[in-house]
């Protein structure tokens, strides 16, 4: 019986946190948000040099032999830092390709795992993150199977002004494109990939919500009004306690969903839906509460809290809303 992080897992999170911290702070976030790019090669290379592309692949495939849980821990840190780049798409693509039986598609795996080929998720929506930088799009085949589409001919990319400045999207249309098949409709891999996507989005939301809570608590210790730190005022203190109460217990929901996926438990699909629904609600509530708890500074662009708020908008809408996943969870429970 073990249901808390191992030393190794804590070390992975610390390593990613440290590495991202060095190359992705508020300064870079502001610069990126103000620019035209939808991808940041420097932070991507740094993350990929840690082996994150292949984290969840077996060692026989040149991966780290870890699981979705470990990938979720990395996505949690990415959420905390509002990191750019299609990390979730990359990890999912690596898992999908490693589990596909098409030899030609599988040949791409080393270059996906290393991060040399950037792959983004284009499922259920034509709004796609880092579309201009991506080499590959992980998408459905129109009949319920999965495939990879190569960037280039047949892929039309239309710029939009993205709400989430840390993960800019574009509108993408696929015409006559070059395709690498992954699996056909009915293959269990399709559901596995969809479930994994929800778990990783939930992890991103968890990291973001935790970050917003932490900086709100720190601010409440520093900022003074009426001659004392505002964190002494019980009204605010209780709001902060309520944020922590919302975030901290829901961490275990993400762990469980990832564990259920790794162990292929019968409730893995439902656990993923519950985690996505719950964590995205938490993220929305927490970013709102964080901005309110900061006063005027929280409402500025400069302070940067808005990047997490915007990210919460993305996570919430991505691959269907909390209410839609609750409806699925109700269905899956046989209610």
């Amino acid at each position: 019986m073990r249901f808390h992080l191992s030393e190794e897992q804590v070390a992975i999170q610390d390593a990613v946190r440290g590495t991202l911290g060095d190359c992705w702070g508020m300064e870079q976030l502001h610069k990126f948000a103000g620019g035209d790019d939808d991808f940041d090669p420097a932070s991507w290379e740094t993350l990929m040099s840690l082996g994150i592309g292949g984290l969840a692949l077996p060692e026989s495939e040149g991966g780290a032999g870890l699981g979705l849980l470990d990938a979720a821990l990395v996505c949690e840190v990415a959420g905390e830092k509002a990191a750019p780049g299609p990390l979730i798409g990359q990890i999912l693509t690596a898992i999908a390709v490693a589990n596909c039986s098409d030899a030609e598609t599988r040949n791409l795996l080393p270059r996906i795992a290393s991060g040399e080929l950037v792959s983004t998720l284009a499922l259920d929506s034509d709004l796609v993150q880092s579309a201009r930088a991506a080499h590959l799009f992980l998408t459905d085949d129109g009949a319920g199977g999965l495939r990879l589409i190569e960037a280039g001919d047949g892929v039309t990319i239309e710029a939009v002004i993205a709400t989430d400045r840390s993960r800019p999207v574009s509108r993408v249309q696929f015409g006559d494109v070059a395709v690498h098949p992954i699996c056909a409709a009915g293959d269990p891999l399709v559901q596995r990939i969809r479930d994994a996507a929800l778990v990783l989005i939930a992890a991103d939301a968890l990291g973001g919500a935790q970050h917003c809570t932490d900086i709100s608590v720190d601010y409440a210790k520093e900022r003074t009004q009426f001659g004392q730190p505002i964190g002494r005022f019980q009204g605010l203190k209780h709001q902060l306690a309520q944020m922590a109460l919302d975030v901290e217990p829901s961490r275990a929901l993400v762990w469980y969903a990832a564990y259920a996926w790794d162990a292929n438990l019968p409730d893995a699909t439902r656990a993923a839906a519950m985690a996505k629904a719950h964590l995205c609600e938490v993220y929305t509530r927490t970013t709102r509460a964080a901005i309110a708890s900061h006063g005027g500074i929280g409402y500025t662009w400069e302070y940067g809290l808005n990047y997490w708020f915007r990210r919460s908008v993305y996570d919430r809408a991505w691959l269907a809303s909390p209410a839609q996943h609750r409806a699925r969870a109700a269905e899956l429970a046989g209610w």
Binding site: Q228, K237, W335
Partner: protein, 402 residues
């Protein structure tokens, strides 16, 4: 992560199951016959090391090494077999661990065995009319008798759960009126069967009255031997804070919450509302919190088994449970609809069978309110999370108090 308990625990589970199959066959026994049978069963369960594991053998326990996983396996298997477990209540949960940690040999000899055998039932004498959240302000007065052998107690305690059944009370009493607030309190044990003690049941909002409600106690020159004082004179506040280590980590409350949630789903089915998208949405939303609580219980349990500190999350469990209870109550109230206008027979624990029908949920609907008060009001929990958990500065009023 791995939610299996491991081969060693599963082998142990088999052993417990065999014991239960052999020893817990109450059959048609009822009343005193059943009571006798349960008593004998408990004794053999103690002999096997299954109950009162942290209590030394000389005080009637089974004195086992701390092992939260075994303790959990025992709870699960006893629960499934509906076999009697530890008697529970304040005595086993609070008095016994406090005495084990801070009591004298004489106190342990006098009280522990009789408490775990259910002979002594303990009331918690903390709250007073003027002291609730601000517990350290207690005013019930204790003065030494002229010969120095007894504490003479005058004052009042209130909201004492199980007060009508209690044979004894552990209580906080002000013995040093001139000392600073927290340093003037002594922790005493008292026999409630004496002329200086008057008790009165207080009718609860659930309608409960008589034997099963909380009570108030009046002390008019009541007596407690000085030998029954736990810890040093004036140090009672700190005795009452004694953290209860032992095998407290369990997923018991999560199991209880889980079965309450399943009943809520059943209620929605019985009332023909389960197809209503709004009801389904609220159920799934509540379940998100129920599962967060459940998996966090696993987390705490896992940390306890590994001897690691789980961090601030353990400070949140009471408030989390309370809030989920409110969510459940609100949905249940919607679901029972008009049935809620009729109080069921046997509500609030009255009557032998307990209430039937959808309106039996009134017990949960009202009872959930008690959770936001008893054992530390929700605002106090928020203070604890904010100050001890998040490191926010203490409230000036409380930081400045003497």
């Amino acid at each position: 992560m791995d939610l299996s308990y491991g081969a060693e625990a599963e082998a142990f589970r088999k052993e417990v199951r065999v014991f239960l199959t052999e020893s817990w066959q109450p059959g048609e026994r009822r009343g005193s016959e059943l009571k006798q049978f349960a008593g004998d069963f408990r004794r053999s369960a103690i002999d096997r090391g299954y109950l009162y594991r942290s209590v030394p053998k000389r005080y009637g326990g089974s004195e086992q090494p701390v092992d939260v996983i075994r303790a959990q396996v025992i709870r699960e298997e006893f629960g499934k077999a509906r076999a009697p477990m530890e008697v529970g209540g304040n005595g086993v949960n609070m008095t016994v661990p406090t005495l084990l940690e801070k009591g004298t040999d004489e106190q342990k000899d006098l009280f522990i065995q009789r408490t775990i055998e259910g002979e002594y039932i303990w009331g918690q004498g903390y709250s007073e009319p003027g002291s609730g959240s601000d517990l350290a302000s207690v005013r019930t007065k204790g003065e030494l008798s002229p010969d120095g052998t007894k504490w003479i107690i005058n004052g009042q305690k209130i909201w004492t759960s199980q007060g009508m059944q209690s044979t004894h009370m552990f209580m906080l009493v002000r013995t040093e009126p001139d000392a600073a607030k927290h340093d003037g309190i002594t922790y005493l044990l008292m026999d409630l069967d004496q002329p200086g003690v008057t008790r009165r049941p207080i009718r609860q909002m659930t309608g409960e009255e008589g034997a099963h409600t909380f009570c108030e106690f009046f002390f008019d020159n009541a007596e407690a031997p000085v030998a029954w004082q736990v810890g040093e004179r004036g140090q009672g506040w700190y005795v009452s804070r004694t953290t209860l280590k032992h095998e407290r980590a369990s997923i018991g409350s999560a199991d209880g919450l889980g079965s309450q949630f399943r009943k809520l789903v059943e209620l929605a089915q019985e009332m023909g509302r389960i197809g209503d998208p709004l009801v389904r949405d609220r159920l799934a939303e509540i379940e998100g919190r129920v599962l967060s609580h459940r998996y966090t219980s696993f987390r705490l349990f896992s940390c306890a088994a590994a001897g690691e500190d789980p961090g601030r999350v353990h400070l949140m469990m009471k408030l989390l449970l309370t809030e989920i209870g409110h969510d459940v109550a609100l949905l249940a109230q919607d679901l029972i609809g008009e049935a809620g206008m009729i109080e069921p027979a046997g509500a609030g624990g009255r009557g032998p069978r307990g209430p039937r029908g959808p309106n039996k949920w009134l017990d949960q609907i009202m009872g959930s309110l008690g959770n936001s008060i008893a054992g530390g009001a929700s605002n106090i929990q928020r203070n604890i999370i904010g100050e001890r958990g998040l490191g926010l500065p203490r409230d000036l009023a409380m930081a400045a108090e003497k």
